[in-house]
């Protein structure tokens, strides 16, 4: 399915990049070490923002991973730790068996580096914990799973992520939420690659319920999306709809998860013929999606948006088809739109026949077949605008309809549905279109105006809600020592902030 491509943008470049960057693995290594250090700070200070910052870099580092770097990082973490907590990491190394020889070869040379780094990193945090943090373990697991998936080693990835998920079940830590959400993502992805998505549905549902009970918002958002994806993959739109109606998407969430949620919701709604709602969701999805990456996701959402718009009887603007990187993928849809706009049934049918395999692959085929009646309606609309009076026989001919009696019914239905404003004179056999009413005297402009105002107000409210406010009550009671501690932390934060000038996205 094309959606798979959508959701997993990074991996196609993964293999190429990792070889390209091979010349400077040190860079990646230090990057990873910094990330791990940051993660420990995050856990110690319970600062969730830092965790998400680490994860934001995840996409970038993922493209540069290599076995060598991975095993080195893991070895480093194993160093000087008590044996009880390292068992898991040891088993993690096994997934990188092929690199085993690498480690032996380079092991000695690197040891020096490692010690130096260790020192640096201890200086940074003050003191390092003797036991490994679950966050660290999870993070390393995530790295390895991502790497395995990018390498196409789906079986291993499945094993690795399953281990991770079982491990995660034992914890209830807020600092782990974002990481474990990622863990579930890779778990689901590796199942999907192997076509086993159906098997984990129950486990996902249970995990979602747990996430709700623990107020784990990141997990809720991720798991809800995974479940929807799971249902939609098997086209269980009924179940997906019921899930949506019985759950609430958490209010504090990342934009990318929200974009996905809206995309899935839009797909459910357009199957249920609720086009206006589907359109709203798909537009939201497109708006919330990162604008300069996640191209696959945006293309897929755009395809559905175009179809839904056509089904609603509107013609999308030309510039939607000319967006950067999308032109080629949207060509079939552009031609569809042309067919609908001209009300040309023959041309429309030709386009459908030509591109049917494409539509089927995109999962839009059933929507496309629904479009036929819209072509007829568009044709009718054109006719009634052009002629104040036209015989039904002429309508039938210009719309290529088979039976005369049906032509009359079709016109009658179009009038009832409010597509055209006309009156049929049966005996005389013609249609007379009515004078168009003076639109500005009706409530219509007011409604449109209201829609827009509401939209703007909504945006404003959401932005206010998205802002972060400092906690004011903390600073009142603070000893000198604490103050020193805090300043140090703030410096640390400022340091990382400088590095973070460019916001990366976490749509994977």
């Amino acid at each position: 399915m094309a959606t798979e491509m959508t959701m997993d943008q990074g991996n196609s470049n993964g293999t190429i990049d990792s070889t390209k960057e091979h010349s400077e693995p040190d860079n990646i290594l230090t990057g990873l070490q910094k990330n791990l250090a940051l993660l420990e700070v995050a856990v110690l200070t319970k600062e969730l923002r830092l965790v998400s910052r680490v994860l934001r870099q995840f996409t970038r580092t993922r493209k540069q991973l290599s076995e060598q770097v991975l095993s080195q990082v893991i070895q480093e973490q194993l160093h000087n730790r008590s044996s009880s907590s390292t068992a898991l990491l040891h088993s993690l190394v096994k997934f990188l068996t092929e690199s085993g020889s690498h480690v032996d070869e380079n092991g000695h040379a690197m040891d020096v580096d490692v010690r130096r780094d260790e020192k640096l990193h201890r200086k940074g945090i003050g003191e390092s914990t003797e036991t490994l943090l679950p966050e660290t373990i999870t993070f390393l697991y995530l790295l390895v799973s991502a790497y395995l998936l990018d390498q196409g080693k789906n079986e291993e990835a499945l094993e690795c992520t399953t281990k991770l998920v079982t491990y995660l079940k034992g914890f209830n830590r807020r600092t782990l939420d974002e990481l474990s959400a990622r863990g579930y993502y890779f778990w689901s992805l590796s199942h999907e690659r192997l076509g086993k998505l159906r098997d984990i549905r129950e486990a996902l549902l249970a995990a979602h319920a747990t996430a709700v009970l623990r107020h784990d918002y990141a997990g809720q958002a991720m798991l809800l999306n995974l479940l929807l994806r799971n249902y939609i993959k098997y086209r269980l739109y009924d179940q997906a709809d019921k899930l949506v109606s019985r759950t609430k998407f958490p209010a504090t969430r990342s934009n990318n998860q929200l974009a996905r949620y809206f995309y899935y919701l839009g797909r459910i709604r357009c199957i249920q013929l609720d086009y206006s709602e589907a359109m709203r969701c798909l537009l939201q999805a497109l708006r919330k999606a990162p604008q300069n990456s996640a191209l696959g996701f945006r293309i897929q959402a755009q395809k559905f948006a175009v179809l839904v718009q056509l089904l609603m009887g509107e013609v999308p603007e030309r510039k939607t088809f000319l967006q950067e990187g999308m032109q080629k993928a949207l060509v079939p849809y552009l031609q569809l739109a042309r067919g609908v706009k001209n009300g040309d049934l023959n041309y429309f049918q030709q386009v459908v026949d030509n591109f049917y395999p494409v539509f089927e692959r995109d999962g839009t085929a059933s929507l496309v077949t629904r479009l036929r009646q819209n072509v007829i309606k568009a044709g009718l609309k054109r006719l009634t605008v052009a002629y104040s009076r036209i015989s039904i026989e002429d309508v039938r001919k210009s719309l290529n309809l088979d039976i005369a009696r049906d032509a009359e019914f079709i016109v009658a239905k179009a009038i009832r549905d409010g597509v055209i404003d006309a009156i049929i004179y049966h005996k005389e056999g013609y249609i007379e279109s009515r004078e168009s009413t003076y639109l500005y005297a009706t409530m219509e402009p007011q409604h449109t105006f209201h829609e827009r105002i509401r939209f703007c107000l909504n945006i404003h409210n959401e932005t206010v809600r998205a802002m972060r406010f400092p906690e004011s009550d903390k600073k009142d009671i603070e000893t000198l020592e604490e103050r020193r501690e805090r300043l140090k932390e703030e410096q640390e934060l400022a340091h990382t902030l400088v590095e973070e000038d460019e916001e990366d996205d976490d749509i994977l």
Binding site: R235, L236, Y237, D238, D241, I271, Q272, L273, D274, S366, T369, R370, R372, Q373, I376, L401, D402, I403, R405, D406, F409, I410, V411, A412, K413, A414, I415, R416, A422, I423, I424, Y425, H426, K427, T437, Y438, A441, T442, M443, Q446, H450, I453, L457, H460, N461
Partner: protein
């Protein structure tokens, strides 16, 4: 457990025999079928959360044929709700264990019938979500394409084509639904007539609504509250609407006030 399965199969074949008679005794058939359904609850493999194993295969098959028979029986009984209920129970057996059981010969027929049910009840949204579930193999089955073609006619407005198509139903069980569908379509056409015509001769109207007898037609007109003048149906148009264009009705006024107040409230929050 196999004696339970055998017992069930025997009872079921009795019901089927009853069903295939020209004048089935429905009460008796239902009673027998209910016995089978009670028996099904005792089968271990149909319990929640049992692992699929080879032992349970015939138990699943028994359950499947039981509900299939129940669906057919409901149609003969003209009980749409019961059909819906039984089909819902049948659905997981078709979908979730499809790679585990050999496909049933009745599957596409029943799916087609279920689509017809949704169509005749005018539940188009559900019709489409059901349609999405189908595999290509089933989608191309004549029973299913029959329902799909009818749906296309319905949304398009080709009522004449639809009615002539529904005459040629591929199976005797379809007849019940096509009859119901004809009623739905008639209502649809009547709605269209009301809005699209100012007047229409009653002969033509009768033809369009495909009434066989004048009495039926007269009754329909009464129900609809249409008036006849000089052999012609006259539909009230909403002409008054034009006079009141610049005066808003109270509903619109109220919503306008509500909207304005909400703007004021939001603005206050911003400032």
């Amino acid at each position: 457990m196999s004696h339970l399965v055998n017992q069930g199969q025997e009872a079921l074949s009795r019901v089927e025999k009853e069903l295939n008679r020209s004048k089935p005794n429905l009460n008796q058939a239902w009673n027998q079928l209910n016995d089978v359904k009670v028996l099904l609850t005792k089968l271990p493999s149909l319990q929640y959360k049992t692992q699929l194993s080879s032992v349970s295969k015939e138990e699943f098959l028994l359950a499947r044929s039981t509900f299939e028979v129940a669906c057919f029986l409901s149609i003969v009984d003209k009980d749409m709700e019961s059909f819906e209920r039984h089909f819902m129970q049948l659905k997981p057996l078709y979908l979730d264990v499809s790679n585990f059981l050999s496909p049933s010969s009745n599957e596409s027929l029943l799916i087609g019938l279920n689509l017809m049910r949704l169509l005749s009840q005018n539940r188009i949204a559900e019709f489409h979500s059901e349609l999405e579930l189908l595999q290509k193999r089933i989608k191309e089955d004549p029973y299913v394409t029959f329902a799909i073609r009818l749906e296309q006619c319905l949304t398009e407005g080709s009522y004449a084509k639809l009615l002539s198509l529904s005459q040629s139903s591929p199976n005797k069980y379809f007849q019940y639904f096509t009859q119901v569908l004809a009623h739905t379509v008639r209502k649809d056409i009547a709605d269209c007539l009301e809005t699209a015509y100012r007047y229409l001769s009653s002969d033509d109207a009768m033809k369009m609504l495909s009434f066989g007898s004048l009495d039926e037609f007269k009754k329909f007109i009464e129900e609809r509250g249409w008036s006849i003048e000089k052999q012609q149906l006259v539909f009230k148009t909403i002409e008054e609407h034009e006079n009141t264009l610049d005066v808003l009705n109270s509903n619109e006024l109220l919503s306008l006030i509500e909207q304005n107040i909400s703007y004021a409230k939001e603005l206050e929050r911003i400032v």
